[in-house]
Structure formats: structure tokens, C-alpha cells
């Protein structure tokens, strides 16, 4: 395997199958005639096993070289599906997702996914075809300035204008995408470069000059944190996606256990700390638990580790955690002090930081504080009103957890169902929960589940979807069926753009403008595509179809016809502080 691809999980046999003639007893240099041959050869050297993509004119040379390669290509039915699949693949493995599409519309169809990966720090390398260099700037057929378009939403992007630059560009692109704070890197490939002549050169060491990655914190900084912890009565760990990206979940668990400090998590951090643990207070923020939002408001020391103080987390900034001293550790210097000023700013890898903190063997007295948190949780635990007639969305998520032993990989679309999937499924390990946090991209969940299942063929992968979001990339059903991916789609079908409707109910006098949505018969849709379709309209049926779906060795759509107009609670209304959450809604 390659040095640039972070190995956080096992590689599955089958995916990296041998490139018979080329890699066995490699004495002769690989057979490279064109730029495209060189590209494919180097992708293999970079450890790429799967490409999600869609061909077209500008990438014909690349597809021609790919034809003879052992790299697996997954043909999605829309480029947006390809990039979200690559994101899903990256999110569950920690490896870099790879995408290949043509110029113009192929490239522009990726923009949402690139922005999504940028917001959620997901490592992907995107390769786009481009018109020949001679035609660039002349509004040629299928020309789009994808460099300019994606500059604001990529960690970096390259246009290869000389075939001799390709090896270094590839090495740097993979390195940049999956180091430091991960993110998307785009490589634009003019057709004359890939179609033109090339000779073999090996993949060099990355050399991106000007690219710096923070590593361990200074000893003094760690001491400053340790001192604050020793003196704290109500310390709180506020953890996010950074813990997962840096592979620090186990260290976080050890540190929380050693110090007896309770943990709240962002949406992106779910799974970084086991939900079943008694020190876990839950997700915080707009739809956080009562106890988590009370905790963040009341704590006297906030340990913000691998987070970015997103507005959905902080609520009204002027009211955010006013009684606490704050420590912020993040690998991205630009996140420190961006939204919230802190007493101890630390630009460092959180894994190194936790390792050093563990050496301090800190034991603040948190007994009263933990008891207080327990009391808050008892005062207002997560709850919903279940009946035996109506199917409640929260209950569907609970049943999914029950029938998968809490072990499935869960991806979500965006909306109410996303929040319920976050709140009611107990994630116990990192990379188990995949959701579009920063951009909130409807259409992300289903293709990302596809990518997750490609990466983890043996694991149960469930996409918790809304009836509306699912229709945004429904075409990927054909990809799933064609690839024989046994993933399970759980549609929480409420006949509404539920989250939009909830806001209209609360803030727009129930004027449901364009938030009612019709859907096709999802069972028939499943059947038309060659998948299994099941429907449930009450809790008993729900149990039965979940059991059936999990047992079925193939893709399944479960259409859960749930009660309409259910709302997500608690909710911190926009512009309010976290302590001002609404717990229930009364129409008066």
C-alpha cells in the first residue's frame, strides 16, 4: 500500500486485485504510452482501488487506459452520485475517495459534492477532463472553467499543462487531500495531455512547497490545559469530526475515563465517543439533547477538541457558554478564534495533544458535575410519544438500531430524519455515522451509502432518508442494483419536506408553502430497478420489514409511512442561546 493513503482500516481482499501483467514480478517499467496510461499507473501506485466516475469526450483517453487496469470503476448514474459515493467511501475508511468525470457538465455536476467535502473535511481527489489546451478560453464544446469554479471549495486545485508535471501533481494532490485537515483536491486534465505521449516515471514523494501541517502542541500549551483541568469543577469535552479524522477516538475515550470528564459531541463527531457510555451526554446544538445544551451553558471549562464552533452548535454567540474558560485544539489555525475567542488556543493534531494530556494523569473532582448532568438527563431525556397505531419516525430509527445491534453504518440525507438518525441511533465507533453536516446537502445520503457499502461490503449499511431527499439522487438505485450492493434504504416518508415544514409551522404561521411533496410508490420503484421494496405503516409492520430487510441479501427500500407533522425536539430557535431550547411545541 502507499504512503499517502491513511490506513485506518483494513483493506479488503478483492478490491486491490492484482494487475496481472503489470505488477507481478515488476522488473520492467509499466507499459506507458500516453498521459492517460501514466495517470492510471500512478493512481495504482498511489493505492487507489476504486474510482467513482462517469465518462465523456474529454476523458476518453483516460477511460481507454482504465479499460485494461485492475482499478475498479463504479459507473454512477449522475456525477453528483459519484462524488457523494466517493465521500461515503472516504468517510467510512479514512482513505481518499477518487472521482473521475468529463469536462464541462461532468465537472460542474460535481460542484455540490466538492463543496460538501470541503465543508466536512472529507478527503477526495477529483479528476476532471478538460478541453485541449489549444481550445481553453475559447468557449469550446464542453469547456467550463472548473479551476475558477472550484477554487473556493477545494483545499487546492491543479491544471496539468505539462505531462512531466503529472507525477508530482498526483503525489501532492493525494498528500494534501488526506493530511492536516483533509479536504477535496481537484486535478483538471486537458485532453491533449492525457491523449499525448508519455513515458513512465514513478510516483515521487510529495513536495508541495508552502503546505504546512501542524503536529504536536508545545509542552507549555499542554501544561496550560492540564492546569485548567486540575482547577475545574465542571469541565466538559466538546468533540467533533476532528477526532475522527485524526483517528483519536480511542485516546479520547481513555482521556475521558482517566479524567472523568463528560463528553458532548457535534453532529460530525458522533461515534467519536461511544454513545452507550455513561459519560456521554449526547449531541449539542440546535437539535442537541437537553442535558448537552445545559452542560455547554453551565460548564466552567470547555475543552473544544477537533471542532469549529459552527453556528448550529453555538446558537447565539453572545450567549454561548458564558461561564467557561475555553481551550480550543484544532489542526486548522484558521478555525482558532474564528467564531469564539478562547483562553488557550492550540494549533495541533488532536491525537498528539491527547497523548500528551494523558501523561498528566489528571483527576479533577467531577462527581457533583456528573450527578448534575444525570439529573438533567432524567429531567428531560430524549423522548417521543409512541402509539401502537401510528408509526413515529423516532421509533423507526430505534427499531433499526435494535435490529442491527447498533452496529450498522448509517448514512443520512438532510432534514428531520437526519436529526432523528443522529439522536436515536447509538453510535459506538468512529466512521459509523456518515452525514452531510456543514453543507446540509439533500441527495448526499443515498450515494454516500453506496460508497460506504463499496468500501465495507460485509457490513450492514443503512441510509436513513427523507421522502424528498431520496428523490434527489434516486437514479443511483440502478448503480446499487448493478453493483449488487446490499445496502438498505429506510425512507422516513412523511409526505413533507419535513424540516422546512417544521420551520414554517413554528416561524411562518403554518403556511406550508411548497413543503408538501408527493412521491412515487417507492415499493414499485424498488421493484422496477430490481431491488426489494417493503412498506410499513405501523410499528408492528415496521419491525417485520426491518427484520426481513436485514436478512435479505440485496438492496432493499423500506418505505416507512410515518405520522405527518412530527417535529424534532429539543430545538434551539435561530438567534437564541442554547439554554433557550424549545422542548415541546404548543400551538397557543
Amino acid at each position: 500500500m502507499n504512503q499517502f493513503i491513511k490506513e485506518t482500516d483494513t483493506v479488503h481482499a478483492g478490491e486491490g486485485a492484482t494487475d496481472s501483467a503489470q505488477t507481478v514480478g515488476q522488473v520492467n517499467p509499466p507499459n506507458v504510452k500516453t498521459g492517460a496510461d501514466l495517470l492510471i499507473t500512478l493512481l495504482k501506485e498511489a493505492g487507489v482501488e476504486v474510482i467513482f466516475g462517469y465518462p465523456g469526450g474529454a476523458v476518453l483517453p483516460i477511460y481507454d487506459s482504465l479499460y485494461d487496469s485492475s482499478i475498479r470503476h463504479i459507473l454512477t448514474r449522475h456525477e453528483q452520485g459519484a462524488i457523494h459515493a466517493a465521500e461515503g467511501y472516504a468517510r467510512v475508511t479514512g482513505k481518499t475517495g477518487v472521482v473521475l468525470v468529463t469536462s464541462g457538465p461532468g465537472a460542474t455536476n460535481l460542484v455540490t459534492g466538492i463543496a460538501d467535502a470541503y465543508m466536512d473535511s472529507t478527503p477526495v481527489v477529483v479528476m476532471t477532463g478538460q478541453v485541449t489546451m489549444e481550445s481553453i478560453g475559447r468557449d469550446a464544446f464542453q469547456e467550463a472553467d472548473i479551476m475558477g469554479i472550484t477554487m473556493p471549495v477545494t483545499k487546492h486545485n491543479y491544471q496539468v499543462r505539462d505531462i512531466n508535471d503529472l507525477p508530482q501533481v498526483l503525489a501532492d494532490a493525494f498528500y494534501i487531500a488526506n493530511s492536516g485537515r483533509p479536504g477535496p483536491v481537484l486535478i483538471d486534465l486537458p485532453k491533449n495531455i492525457t491523449a499525448g505521449p508519455a513515458t513512465y516515471q514513478p510516483l515521487p514523494q510529495p513536495a508541495a512547497r508552502g503546505y504546512k501541517i501542524p503536529t504536536a502542541p508545545a509542552k507549555e500549551q499542554v501544561e496550560a490545559i492540564a492546569q485548567l483541568i486540575s482547577g475545574a469543577k465542571k469541565p466538559l469535552l466538546y468533540v467533533g469530526g476532528g477526532i475522527i479524522s485524526s483517528g483519536a477516538s480511542e485516546l479520547l475515550r481513555q482521556f475521558a475515563k482517566q479524567t472523568q470528564i463528560p463528553v458532548v459531541s457535534t453532529l460530525m463527531g458522533l461515534g467519536a465517543y461511544p454513545a452507550g457510555d455513561e459519560q456521554f451526554v449526547g449531541m449539542l446544538g440546535m437539535h442537541g439533547t437537553y442535558a448537552a445544551n445545559k452542560a455547554i451553558t453551565d460548564c466552567d471549562l470547555l475543552l473544544a477538541f477537533g471542532v469549529r464552533f459552527d453556528d448550529r452548535v453555538t446558537g447565539k454567540l453572545q450567549m454561548f457558554s458564558l461561564h467557561s474558560k475555553k481551550v480550543h485544539v484544532d489542526i486548522d489555525a484558521a478555525e482558532i478564534g474564528k467564531n469564539v475567542q478562547v483562553e488557550v488556543p492550540v494549533v495541533a493534531n488532536i491525537k498528539d495533544t491527547l497523548e500528551m494530556l494523558l501523561q498528566h494523569h489528571l483527576h479533577p473532582d467531577t462527581k457533583d458535575w456528573l450527578a448534575q448532568l444525570k439529573a438533567w438527563d432524567n429531567e428531560w431525556p430524549l423522548r417521543y410519544h409512541g402509539t401502537s397505531d401510528d408509526l413515529k419516525p423516532q421509533q423507526v430509527v430505534e427499531l433499526l438500531a435494535k435490529h442491527t445491534g447498533g452496529q450498522a453504518i448509517v448514512t443520512t440525507e438532510v432534514g428531520q430524519h437526519q436529526m432523528w438518525a443522529a439522536l436515536f441511533y447509538p453510535y459506538s465507533r468512529p466512521r459509523q455515522f456518515v452525514t452531510s453536516g456543514g453543507l446540509g446537502t439533500m441527495g448526499f445520503g443515498f450515494p454516500s451509502a453506496l460508497g460506504a457499502q463499496v468500501a465495507e461490503p460485509e457490513k450492514t449499511v443503512i441510509c436513513v432518508a427523507g421522502d424528498a431527499s431520496f428523490q434527489m439522487n434516486i437514479q443511483e438505485l440502478q448503480t446499487v442494483v448493478e453493483q449488487g450492493l446490499p445496502l438498505k434504504i429506510a425512507i422516513i416518508n412523511n409526505r413533507f419536506l419535513g424540516m422546512v415544514r417544521q420551520w414554517q409551522q413554528f416561524f411562518y404561521e403554518k403556511r406550508y408553502a411548497e413543503s408538501r411533496i408527493s412521491s412515487p410508490d417507492f415499493v414499485k420503484v424498488a421493484e422496477a430497478y430490481g431491488a426489494l421494496g417493503l412498506r410499513a405503516t405501523n410499528p408492528a409492520e415496521a419491525e417485520a420489514i426491518i427484520a426481513q430487510a436485514i436478512a435479505h441479501d440485496g438492496p432493499v427500500i423500506m418505505d416507512f409511512v410515518v405520522k405527518e407533522e412530527e417535529n424534532v425536539f429539543p430545538m434551539v430557535p435561530p438567534g437564541k442561546g442554547n439554554h433557550e431550547m424549545t422542548l415541546e411545541w404548543s400551538e397557543e
Binding site: 475558477g148 473556493p152 491544471q159 508552502g210
Partner: protein, 169 residues
């Protein structure tokens, strides 16, 4: 404190690098009063000087967000440093032969050079800080200014201050 800020940015001389930096300023809501780019001491490296304004938090965000760009080798906020900062301006002013003597007297203390002379106008080149250039423009305005082209400021730390500011970044 919202003050004028001068950022000096060393970048790889690659296509699009100016767009990356100017775009980042625009996107993050930092204004740009002037921007200059040219080769730096090392081949393949350019130095950009951006004059902007903002408070400490804005300056920190500029340093960290710009610093994050892959093609940026170094970025410093020179606002509180001792620096030399210069701008060049070309000013084409109406100058009938009857007025030339008078104009020449105005120009004298500014140590400008007259770089072009026509029938009814002259073009002068002035270098200096912003105030000096503004002052000359003010004095020439009554004669009728035809065109002005200003480069925007470029700047370097004064000798002996380089190390201190490196540590600050």
C-alpha cells in the same frame, strides 16, 4: 482596533495564485485597498503586498486563512512593524507652455521626474508614500489632471526587523 493593515505574502509563482488570494479576501469579506505583485528575491516566488483594513481578529483570519493556501509560502501583517512602504504614480497634467514654469516649481520639492512632455501636457512620475502622492495630486489638480495611474503600495520590513516579525507569525 480597525486600522490600515499591510500584508506581505510570499507565494509560488503559479497560474491563478493571484485569483486564489484575491478571491479569498473577497469571500471572507476582507476589503482590498490595493494589491501589488511582482517577483521576489527567489526565482519562482512572488511577493504580494495587500493593503487592507480591519481589527486584530480580521488580521488573524487573514494570516491563517491565507497561510492555509497551498501556494502561500509566508504571510505577515506588517501593520505594527517598521516598514518601508512605497507607491509609484504617473500623473498626466495639463501644462500649456505658459504654465510650465509654475508647475515646475510645484514639482521641485517632490523630487519627481518628468517622464513625458507633450504640446499641452506633461507626465510626471512620483514615488513615495500615499500621503506624499496625494499631496502632489492635490496641488496639481487646479491645472487640470488628465489621467492618473497608481501602482498601489509595495512594502518591505526595515532592516533588522525581519526576525522579530517572523516569530510573530
Amino acid at each position: 482596533m480597525d486600522i490600515e493593515r499591510t500584508f506581505s505574502i510570499l507565494v509560488n509563482d503559479r497560474p491563478g495564485v493571484l485569483t486564489r488570494i484575491a478571491g479569498l479576501f473577497a469571500r471572507r469579506g476582507f476589503n482590498i485597498s490595493s494589491i501589488t505583485v511582482g517577483s521576489a528575491e527567489e526565482a519562482g516566488v512572488s511577493r504580494m503586498t495587500i493593503v487592507s483594513h480591519g481589527d486584530e481578529a480580521m488580521a488573524m483570519q487573514v494570516l491563517t486563512q491565507v497561510g492555509k493556501l497551498v501556494d502561500v509560502l509566508d504571510v505577515i501583517d506588517m501593520s505594527k512593524e517598521k516598514i518601508v512602504k512605497r507607491e509609484l504614480a504617473l500623473i498626466k497634467v495639463k501644462a500649456e507652455s505658459s504654465k510650465r514654469q509654475e508647475i515646475s516649481h510645484i514639482l521641485d520639492p517632490f523630487r519627481v521626474s518628468v517622464v513625458d512632455v507633450g504640446h499641452s501636457s506633461i507626465t510626471v512620475q512620483i514615488t513615495g508614500d500615499e500621503e506624499k502622492i496625494d499631496a502632489l495630486i492635490g496641488l496639481l489638480r487646479p491645472y487640470g489632471i488628465i489621467e492618473i495611474s497608481r501602482t498601489g503600495a509595495t512594502a518591505l520590513l526595515r532592516s533588522g526587523t525581519e526576525e522579530a516579525s517572523d516569530a510573530a507569525v
